[in-house]
Symmetry: C2
Subunit: 241 residues, 2 copies
C-alpha cells in the first residue's frame, strides 16, 4: 500500500491526543497507576506539552469544564437584565448538559472512572461548586437590594444544580441512552415552577408544584391584586369555569 496518493491522515489536535491517551491508560491500568509520563509517552509528546494544556493529571479527566465555565459566565453576562432570573440560570445550566451530550461515549466513560477514584470525585465536587457560584453570583446581582436576595440566590442556584445533576446522572447511568435534553428540561422545569416569578405585568400567575404528578395546584398572587382576579386564577388553575 502506498500513502502518496491517499488523503493525509487527520491527526487529532495534540490536546485531544493527550485526552485519548490518558483515558486509554486509565482504563488499562487504572487512574492511580497512570503517570503523566505514561500519558505523554503514549501520545508521543513531551511533558511540557501536557502541562501547557492541563495543570494536573485530574484536569485531563475534565478537559472541557474550563471552557464551559467561561461560556456560562459569558452567557450570564450577556443578558440585558430583562430576563426572568430563574429561567436565565436554567438556560445557563443547560450549557453543562450540552458539553456532556456532545460526546456521550466519553462522558459515560468518565462517569465510570470518576465513581472509582475518590480524588476525581473531589475534583468534580469543586467544579460543580464553581458552576453553582457562577449561577449564584448572577442571581445575587439580579436580586440585589431585595430582602433575602442573597439567600434566594444561593438556594435557587443550589436547586438548579441539583436538578440538573439529578437528570444528568440518570442519563449517564443509562450509558447515555435516552433523551438527556428532555430529562434536564423536565428537572429544570420543576425548579422553575417552584421559584420563577410572575412577570412584572402579571398580577396573578397559576403554576404547578414541583411534583407534577400530584393532585395539587399552586397559585402565586401579588398581595395587592384584586380578589376577583385571584379567584378567577384559582378557578382556572383548578380547571373550573
Amino acid at each position: 500500500m502506498t500513502t502518496s496518493s491517499a488523503a493525509p491522515a487527520v491527526k487529532p489536535p495534540m490536546r485531544d491526543a493527550l485526552v485519548e491517551a490518558a483515558f486509554r491508560l486509565f482504563l488499562e491500568r487504572g487512574y492511580d497507576r497512570t503517570t503523566v509520563d505514561d500519558i505523554v509517552a503514549l501520545a508521543g509528546v513531551g511533558r511540557r506539552s501536557f502541562f501547557r494544556y492541563f495543570p494536573s493529571k485530574e484536569d485531563v479527566v475534565f478537559p472541557d469544564h474550563e471552557r464551559c465555565l467561561a461560556d456560562m459566565t459569558a452567557f450570564l453576562a450577556a443578558g440585558d437584565g430583562a430576563e426572568e432570573p430563574v429561567a436565565r440560570v436554567c438556560d445557563a445550566a443547560r450549557l453543562v448538559l450540552r458539553m456532556y451530550a456532545e460526546n456521550p461515549a466519553f462522558s459515560v466513560r468518565r462517569y465510570r472512572l470518576t465513581k472509582q477514584v475518590p480524588g476525581l470525585r473531589a475534583y468534580e465536587l469543586s467544579v460543580v461548586r464553581r458552576y453553582e457560584r457562577a449561577l449564584a453570583g448572577y442571581l445575587r446581582e439580579r436580586y440585589a437590594g431585595r430582602p433575602d436576595g442573597t439567600l434566594r440566590a444561593d438556594v435557587i442556584a443550589a436547586a438548579v444544580v441539583a436538578a440538573h445533576n439529578n437528570a444528568l446522572r440518570s442519563w449517564l447511568r443509562s450509558d447515555g441512552a435516552g433523551d438527556a435534553d428532555a430529562a434536564v428540561d423536565h428537572a429544570l422545569g420543576c425548579v422553575r415552577a417552584a421559584f420563577a416569578e410572575p412577570g412584572r405585568d402579571a398580577a396573578v400567575q397559576p403554576s404547578v408544584p414541583p411534583a407534577r404528578g400530584e393532585d395539587v395546584v399552586v397559585v402565586v398572587a401579588r398581595r395587592d391584586a384584586p380578589l376577583w382576579r385571584v379567584v378567577r386564577a384559582v378557578e382556572a388553575a383548578l380547571g373550573r369555569p
Copy 2:
C-alpha cells in the same frame, strides 16, 4: 507556692489538646507549614495518638463533623415516618448549626483558616456533600414511589444545605455576633415555604413564598378541594375578611 492543697489542674482530653495545639500552630506559622510532628510535639503526645483520633491533618481542622454526621443520620432514622419530610430535614440541618454555635470562637477561627487554604475548602466541600447526601437519602425514602421522587429529594436537600450555609456563613463573617439560630431558622423557613407540603388532612394551606419581604402570597390547594375553601384560604392569605 505549693500545689498540694490546690485542686488538680483540669487536663483537657488528649483529643482537645491536639486540636488546640494544631490551631495554635496554624495561626503562628500557617496551615501548610505545620506538620503533624509539630502538632504532637506541642501537645506532648506521640504520632500514634494523633492518628488514633484523626486520619489526617485536615481532620483536626474539622474535629466534630464525623460525630455530627452520625447524629444527623441517627436523627433522621429515628422518625416514625409521620413527620413532614421537609420539616424533618430542616431540623436535621440545625444539628450542624448547633455544632458551630457550641463554640463560636473556634468556629470563626476555623472559618478564617479555611478561607485561606484551598485544600481545606476542598475538604469542607466534601463534608457538605456528605450532609447533603444524608438529607437526600432520607427524602428519597420518604418520596419513594412518587413521580419525580428522587428529583424532589435531591433538589430539596440541596436547597436546605444552601439556605443553612448562607445563614451560617453570614454569622461566621460577623465573627459569631448576632443570633445564629434566628438566622438559620429564617433561612430554613424560606425553604419550607417553597417545598413543604400541606398536611394529609388539610385540603388547603396558605403559605408564604421564599422571599418573605415580597408582596406576594402563595396558596397551595388540593385539586379536589371545594372552591369555597380555596377562596377562604386566599382571603386569609391576602389578609382580607
